[in-house]
């Protein structure tokens, strides 16, 4: 039914080999025949059959992205970056949302093994040894986004630097009693952000009051949730008669919970307590959060470029790129007059 290279070969009075050649821009064709073939192809509205090409070329021109579907905001933007650059490069993207590491492994072992995709992007999910081994053995191009592994190229965010910028912003504003609300410390970024925080405090000769440091024991989303932030703030409120003048919260979504808790106690932000957080998710601007922005779109873009490099240039050495988040000043630290907080 569909028009194939045979059709255009017949019509153009050439062999299918020649047709294939001009379609693939092979230099070894006369301009005359090339034009003829091209014009017939256009006339017939020819479209190559992707699967047949994939089969013959042993290349599918598609990447798969594995993302934890529950987390939303961050991924949307990274995916958008990935998707748009993929399109511009003539690739397709198969997206696979997983809810757990097991599901990821199941998917990987089923769908990725044979030719379906040329490479894959894994987002925020820790790689188990068995999966890592499989990728290594089968030599499937893999790039990790927002997660890392010594054997694979990855794109991530410099949590330490981000925390430094955020905390020093607070310090520069004159704050000395600074607290921190962290997510579940089993999460790597959560841990890094806490460690980073302590380092910055020390470097600036500020004392760390352990009562001002709360971490979440919640497991849902590793404690990166509004509820976890709310609980942590409540707890800090209960445990202390005196409060810090500023708090660094390890994610925006938690910061939103913190704001709610604070509001319930009639503690005004930024007047009584200043807040900085991390991520700059879509929500953040609606709440006027001063936060550390991760260059999500760019990360997606770069991830794709790396993956394609890996595919088209198998010898590529693995590289681990790190982005530095940037400070977005809005209302929660009180020095951007454009934001009258809360800004809903």
């Amino acid at each position: 039914m569909a028009v194939t290279i045979y059709d255009i070969a017949r019509e153009a009075k050439v062999g299918i080999g020649t047709v294939s050649r001009v379609l693939n821009n092979s230099p070894k064709v006369t301009d005359g025949t090339r034009e003829k073939v091209l014009s017939v192809a256009k006339k017939l509205n020819y479209q190559p059959h992707a699967f047949a090409q994939a089969l013959a070329r042993k290349r599918s021109n598609t990447l798969s992205a594995i993302i934890p579907f529950f987390t939303n905001y961050f991924f949307i933007e990274v995916l958008q970056g990935a998707q748009e650059t993929l399109v511009s490069l003539g690739y397709d993207l198969i997206i696979h949302g997983v809810n757990s590491r097991e599901q990821m492994e199941e998917y990987l072992s089923k769908s990725l093994k044979k030719g379906r995709v040329d490479g894959t992007l894994i987002f925020s999910l820790e790689l188990s040894d068995s999966v890592a081994k499989e990728f290594l053995e089968k030599n499937i191009p893999l790039v990790l986004v927002d997660t890392q592994h010594p054997k694979f190229t990855s794109i991530s965010v410099d949590n330490f630097e981000g925390v430094r910028i955020a905390t020093e912003h607070l310090i520069n504003l004159g704050h000395k009693k600074i607290g921190m609300i962290t997510a579940n410390l089993k999460s790597v970024p959560a841990k890094e952000r806490l460690i980073g925080f302590k380092q910055v405090m020390q470097k600036n000769n500020l004392s760390i009051n352990d009562r001002f440091i709360l971490s979440s024991s919640q497991t849902k989303n590793d404690g990166f949730s509004r509820e976890a932030g709310y609980e942590s703030m409540k707890q800090m409120l209960q445990q202390n008669s005196e409060l810090p003048t500023a708090i660094f919260v390890s994610s925006d979504i938690q910061a939103i919970g913190v704001l709610a808790a604070l509001r319930e106690h009639n503690i005004s932000v930024p007047h009584d307590i200043a807040l900085v957080s991390f991520d700059d998710i879509e929500l953040s601007k609606y709440f006027g959060l001063t936060t550390m922005r991760q260059p999500m779109y760019k990360m997606g873009e770069l991830a794709v470029h790396k993956a394609i490099q890996l595919i088209e240039n198998p010898g590529t050495v693995l590289s681990s790129e790190t982005f530095t988040p940037s400070l977005i000043v809005r209302g929660t630290c009180g020095q951007n007059p454009a934001y009258s907080f809360p800004s809903n």
Copy 2:
């Protein structure tokens, strides 16, 4: 390099036809050979080559989803529904984000024509006649989500019923002077929601004050934006000395802008003005919006089922399914004590 049915045929001392049969659960195989083949397949860790299958079967077992990437919230959930049911049915999903109708048409004409996907899902984008014709001609299964066309099966939301429920909620609360803030009326849902609103008011013998009905002329996102809502509310505030006691806002994202405008004028919600809106996007709960929830996950699920039905059962008549949104009572109408609004 990879293990093929030839490998397992040789190892199991049978023909490739037999191997293919057992792999495809053909009944015409002896239990003995079946077992033998299966065990060899397992031993060799065989995985079928998706593209070769697709080529031979003329079926790819993948669907593509075309979504306007800019709109975020709504799609995430619908996609999640779509994705999960697709996986459970052994299909893959290729996601394609487009920023304009032109981009959509470009993508369609390039990638969809030949065998790449068995069917496609189009989200919220209006179908041009040429595209519609193409789908019809090529007979490619298509289901529309959150948009409609007489010739294709679609899943959408009953805006009229939703508006009725929302508005009568206000009426039941005792409101008589009710205003509405709409999006750009060039958008179909925006128009439907306005028409629905007027109908309900009439049916309840409530007079409609045109000064209380504001529509946005913004084109970005068809006026479904925070900014548009903010502007509309500002305008209503300027134009009137007296205000309605309740407002129906045609989307949550606009309602958030309305809240901001109201707050600037020290008008308290729900005390001075009650608000109902539409969508129940992720943001809404953080703002305590009372709103009409669209069953997004379910819509994705159903869309997939319809599409697959179309694929596997070409004779299927087109069906247009409509979901009724449900009222989510939070804080903006003031009768849910669980929500002390604003709840950020």
